[in-house]
Amino acid sequence: MTVPPKSADAAVELRPKLVGQRIKRTEDPRLLTGSGRYVDDIALPGMLHVAVRRSDQPHARILSIDVGEAFSIPGVLAIFDARDIEADILPAIPTSRMDGYYATPIRPLAQDKVRYAGEPVVAVVAESRYAAEDALEQITIAYEPLPFAIRQVDAVEPGAPLLHAEAGSNVIIARQFQRGDVDAAIAAAPLVVRGRFRMTRKTAVPMENRSYLADWDKRRRALTLHTSSNIPGIVRDVLADCLDLPGNRLRVVAPDVGGSFGGKGSLNHEEMLVCVLAKKLERAVKFTADRMEDLTAMSQAFDELIDAELAVDAEGRLLGLRADVIGDIGAYSIYPWTGALEPVQVVSFLPGPYRMEHYRGRVRGVLTPKPPTGPYRGVGRPSSTFAMERLIDMAARRLGLDPVEIRRRNLVTAEEFPYRTGSGIIWDKSAFQECLDGACADYPALVQARDAARAEGRLVGIGLASYAELTGIGSRIAVAPGMPINTGTETAAIRIDATGAVTAAFGISSHGQGLETTLAQIVADELGCRFEDVEIQHGDSDLVPMGTGTYASRSAVLGGGAATKSARVVKTKVLKAAAHLMDVPMEDLEAENGLIRARSSNAVLTFKEVARAVYSQMGRIPYDQREDLVAEETYDPYLGTASASTHLAMVEVDRDTFGVTVTHFVVAEDCGRIINPLIVEGQVHGAVAQGIGAALLEEVVHDDEGQLLTASLADYLVPVATNMPPIGIVHIEADLPNNLGGFRGMGEGGTIGAPAAIANAISDALSPVGIEIDTLPATPERLFRLVEAAKARMARDKPAE
């Protein structure tokens, strides 16, 4: 179902033909036939393999490293620790403008100390991965164990053992957002609900493990890094500094990348490592992580403790919210986003899409001996939405209000836009109320079904979650607070060459999103050429001067905007040339589907004929008016766009096993103008699946000794086909945003709404025993313990006979 736009927006000048259609993807034939080219598929002549010996200690001083008989293993060529490469590469420093922040240096191999179990310590280079792994077993590392605090509640305490002594504290991030007088609002409120909410540590689990291949060109003294990254441009820029190589001798290429979801969106130790080893050895050097290494050492996510109190009046209107958040950022602040990315977003987005005057959100980011947290689909907002949507349902239950009604009363309405939240985020032109209505079309029938099931003694519940997110953010705010890299612009270089072929090159880096298809739809529409004549290039730092990649739901907005701008410039040049060739005024020409026609005559030229005349046929265009058919334009949406959604989940909790089945799921979302509905639906399905994983299955567990207990896919559970219900999607295209094209970002949203909706549904299902879910994932074990505790509480509270 698609709700038509309320009004046509003057900013949208497209006359869509391809945009909006369910175009089959250009990427598919190669990926379906096994002809994709992921980093590990690339084999270069003389290529060597690296295996990494990792720390088995959470916090320890490295006393000695003994390589034993490692060199007796055939094929082993070299072994390195931090001292061997210290002079060859500078650490990456994830700087930030935040007050009181400490930037932990990032090195390829641990120097002097290790700070999490799994941190790379020694690298073995061999002619095969098998030989390199054999050598690892020969190496003995002597450690002096150092004290540590593995839980964030302990690590924030003033006397806690320090992980980075130079920082002077484990707390390296502290921020506060405030508006109004929340203490007074809470003190005076008729009802205050509170809780301590936690989405436990999680990891992205892209199906392709991380893989890096560096190749040193002796002749040019140049390095090419092939990397399974979604930020090749950022990696190029930072490694240029670390390796002291200019950008024209350092190329970073992300070929086909097997998913990221944020996990491949930061600089990695091993990415630095292969570069420095390739340069030292003057050979191609490859590292490919196995699953255990990725589960152990890839960036992780979530892991905030959120103490929050919500004040409401007797009609359920939100008065104020007070929150104290401790984010466990792991052992290092990640490059380039810093450890602030995840926890600070939690307090930025906690007020949600609601009208609420008073707010104070305080956040601390604390170092613990675990892998660093970094970007993961939704960043901060899955946790903030979980806490806020739980509080709203808790308030509704106390007031006897329906969960739909309390949201309707508090969601910002179209008339109130632009609306500034208590944390300073500005919501504008987004379908908050319409999404609630869209998700709840079948709500009365579902309530009836739930009540009927309950009458049979079944534990069935319905849950809602409404949220809004900023997507396609321009230069007004950094994607991560205080971070000094530019995330607000993207460039498209479009050229028509002498054969009439169209090449559009970008700084973005598609890794499953289908941008080769969607950007070609935009280019073909804007240029008037044929879809099949457009080649989209991306994922290569050599394509445009600066491009940061694909993350933060930005590529449709920024890449699409840059494509539109560049295509319009090229089109003008094509029409100018055609006007000379056809001897008609330029205004009389239009380009469509690869043909340039004059409205006033039957004259027609193909793009190929115009290109040939411009480039290869001397004298056909006056020499002083001839222009190459190229453009390289940069787009900055400045503010960015707000994407909104409401999710509705229905669940059943098994009375015996406490397993949760999601029986019904609906997403109503406003992602602006849809470029390709097939791709939008695929993104929603996939993001909701990860949200269901976060709600029910996925949890990185470190024990009190700092050891990872979930180091295989048999222990870290992700959803399979039988965990997923069919997902209903309601597209709402309300007032279009002001950015070029009217697109909004939508790749992350499903993961933001689903955990909260499911937590609310489980709480509804268990409301007869008075359980409010405050920790996700809601595993059978957690639910069993909650129910046992609730039974004990009820038995205790029951008056003695």
Binding site: R30, T33, P206, M207, G259, G686, P719, A721
Partner: protein, 160 residues
């Protein structure tokens, strides 16, 4: 050093005779010895299904098999299903239903589904989801894959 036994494995109809290390995984044999990089390795512990191939006609995890144990066996990989110019039927259904995104798990799904279509009724969505439940996809949420398989199962009709 251990002896390197000589084995002959037929892959996609072509017999390959090689001396192999006894510990060489079939997945590495396919990818690195034969250059058939369409078979992907996602976990190397048999959970994710990305490396699924057909062994004598039935789906199997190539990361849990050693090449040395497969002397005389017939293996089919994703490269046997179709070409870029002419996709096979399962591949075409995946494309029209947008049943893949990053493509990394896709070869494993295609091989599993090829086996399931030959041997399982797949009469309901529940059966289809059960048949797919040994393969992990992190991108699609499975719905488009289920849609593709439903179409293929209907087209095939009841099992003979």
């Amino acid at each position: 050093m251990t002896a390197r036994p000589e084995i002959t494995i037929t892959v996609n109809g072509i017999a390959h005779t090689r001396a192999v290390d006894p510990r060489l995984l079939l997945s590495d044999f396919l990818r690195h010895e034969l250059g058939l990089t369409g078979t992907h390795v996602g976990c190397e512990h048999g959970v994710c299904g990305a490396c699924t191939i057909l062994l004598d006609g039935r789906s199997a995890r190539s990361c849990l098999l050693l090449a040395v144990q497969l002397d005389g066996a017939a293996i089919e990989t994703v490269e046997s299903l179709g070409t870029l110019e002419r996709l096979g039927r399962v591949q075409e259904a995946f494309r029209s239903h947008h049943a893949l995104q990053c493509g990394f798990c896709t070869p494993g799904f295609l091989m599993t589904i090829t086996d399931m279509l030959r041997h399982h009724p797949l009469e309901s969505d529940a059966e289809i989801r059960e048949a797919l439940s040994g393969n992990i996809c992190r991108c699609t949420g499975y719905e488009h894959i289920v849609n593709a398989v439903r179409e293929l199962a209907r087209e095939r009709g009841p099992l003979k």
